[in-house]
């Protein structure tokens, strides 16, 4: 392990980052397919799972391992142009300044797409997102249309993402896929092992994210909806049959 001469292997991607990443890979096509075939119940379940994962990743980007933190890898135009001029000068452990843009764009669009879906509705106004009842018909219609447009943007970014991976593999001879599976990446020079977020922290953040997703799925009670354990129907106005019409 103390062999520092060549190919120092460090963990660049922790398990939460890898799990979230490959879940996105599985969920995105599944979400597209369930929408395409109008399996809306499944689409809602998968969409809320996606929401939970996005919330987790955003929180993990604040408190997680150093390579997962936005503050550590999001860089300005200066750093990006410096990287583009001499990409091999300093090995980057984690996202390079250009790749950071891709992470921010993909995560941002996923967050936007999930948010739009919460308010969207189908044409019968029966199969609707869990927060659809809190907005007007026109807002919901706009959200539904945007939900379709943002998906196309997302698909385009995924294509770009994959193209970049292929470019790095063929032109740069740099395999980005294996580290996203194993977590480990070899470096020719000695680099510091990034600080990894603890298991306990990951579990706590995951539970928090799941709770937020569930809460949204139930229509943000008590303001937007009843709690699921409140079974009886509460009527705002007392029914009075004789006063009707």
């Amino acid at each position: 392990m103390t062999d520092q001469v060549q190919h120092v292997k460090v963990v660049v991607w922790d398990i939460p980052v890898r799990l979230v990443h490959w879940s996105f890979v599985a969920l995105l096509p599944a979400l597209w397919w369930t929408a395409e075939t109008r399996q809306m119940d499944l689409h809602f379940t998968l969409g809320l799972t996606m929401a939970g994962l996005v919330v987790f990743r955003l929180m993990w980007g604040i408190v997680g391992s150093t390579t997962a933190r936005f503050s550590r890898f999001v860089a300005g135009p200066k750093a990006i142009s410096r990287y583009l001029k001499a990409p091999e000068d300093n090995p980057v452990v984690g996202h390079n300044p250009l790749g950071a843009l891709s992470v921010v764009a993909l995560l941002g669009l996923l967050a936007l797409q999930v948010s739009l879906g919460l308010f969207a509705q189908d044409t019968d106004a029966v199969d609707s997102g869990p927060l659809n009842h809190l907005v007007s018909w026109d807002t919901a219609t706009a959200a539904s249309e945007a939900h379709g447009i943002v998906f196309n943007l997302l698909a385009a970014l995924v294509v770009l993402h994959i193209a970049a991976i292929v470019f790095y593999r063929i032109v740069r001879k740099n395999d980005l896929v294996t580290p996203m599976i194993s977590g480990r990446r070899a470096f020719a020079t000695r680099v510091a092992q990034p600080a990894l977020g603890s298991w306990i922290k990951a579990v706590v953040v995951a539970m928090l994210a799941a709770a937020i997703a569930l809460w949204i799925g139930y229509g943000v009670p008590p303001w937007g909806a009843k709690f699921p354990w409140e079974q009886t129907d509460t009527l705002q106005d007392v029914p009075a049959a004789d006063s009707y019409m």
Binding site: R38, Q121, T123, D124, A125, V126, S128, N132, H133, W137, A140, G219, P221, P222, W223, G224, A225, K226, D233, T234, L235, Q236, D237, P239, A240, A241, Y244, M245
Partner: protein
């Protein structure tokens, strides 16, 4: 001079063309507005089911809209208002090819919405929910057979 004639002629012809394009069969617009009103009313009812406290008054008002609009649907598809009339429509040719089935579907809607209005009058939330579900089923049933699926 010749140019002037062309411009003058265009000025006379253009309004005529746009008048034709702007005046399709009024059934297109009427049915679109009617369906949109029904969609809004459906959302209005299902919104109340999800809210912390449902407003019976809103449910009743929206069921009345649904029951009224439902009766118009059958008459909103005269011959020549299908696809190919030059107006963007999601109506499928099946409406005119299978008139008996289409009539059965619109009758089902009228019955379901009348049922919902009756349930709303009773004020029994369990009945209202079941009746609203039946209306949703009749919407979907008709859309599945007679409406172009969304891309």
């Amino acid at each position: 001079m010749k140019k002037l004639y062309v411009i003058a002629a265009s000025l006379m012809v253009l309004p005529a063309i746009s008048a034709v394009a702007a005046n399709p069969n009024p059934a297109f617009k009427q049915r679109h507005q009617n369906f949109e009103a029904m969609g809004k009313a459906m959302k209005g009812i299902f919104d109340e089911f999800k809210k912390p406290a449902a407003s019976l008054a809103k449910i009743r008002a929206n069921s009345a809209v649904l029951a009224q609009s439902a009766q118009k649907v059958g008459g909103h598809f005269p011959k020549g208002t299908g696809p190919g009339a030059g107006v963007k429509t999601e109506a499928l040719p099946a409406i005119w090819e299978k008139p008996a089935e289409f009539k059965a579907a619109t009758d089902r809607l009228v019955t379901a919405t009348a049922g919902l209005q009756a349930a709303a009058a009773s004020g029994d939330m369990a009945k209202i929910k079941a009746a609203a579900g039946a209306v949703g089923g009749s919407c979907k049933g008709c859309h599945d057979s007679f409406r172009k699926p969304k891309d």
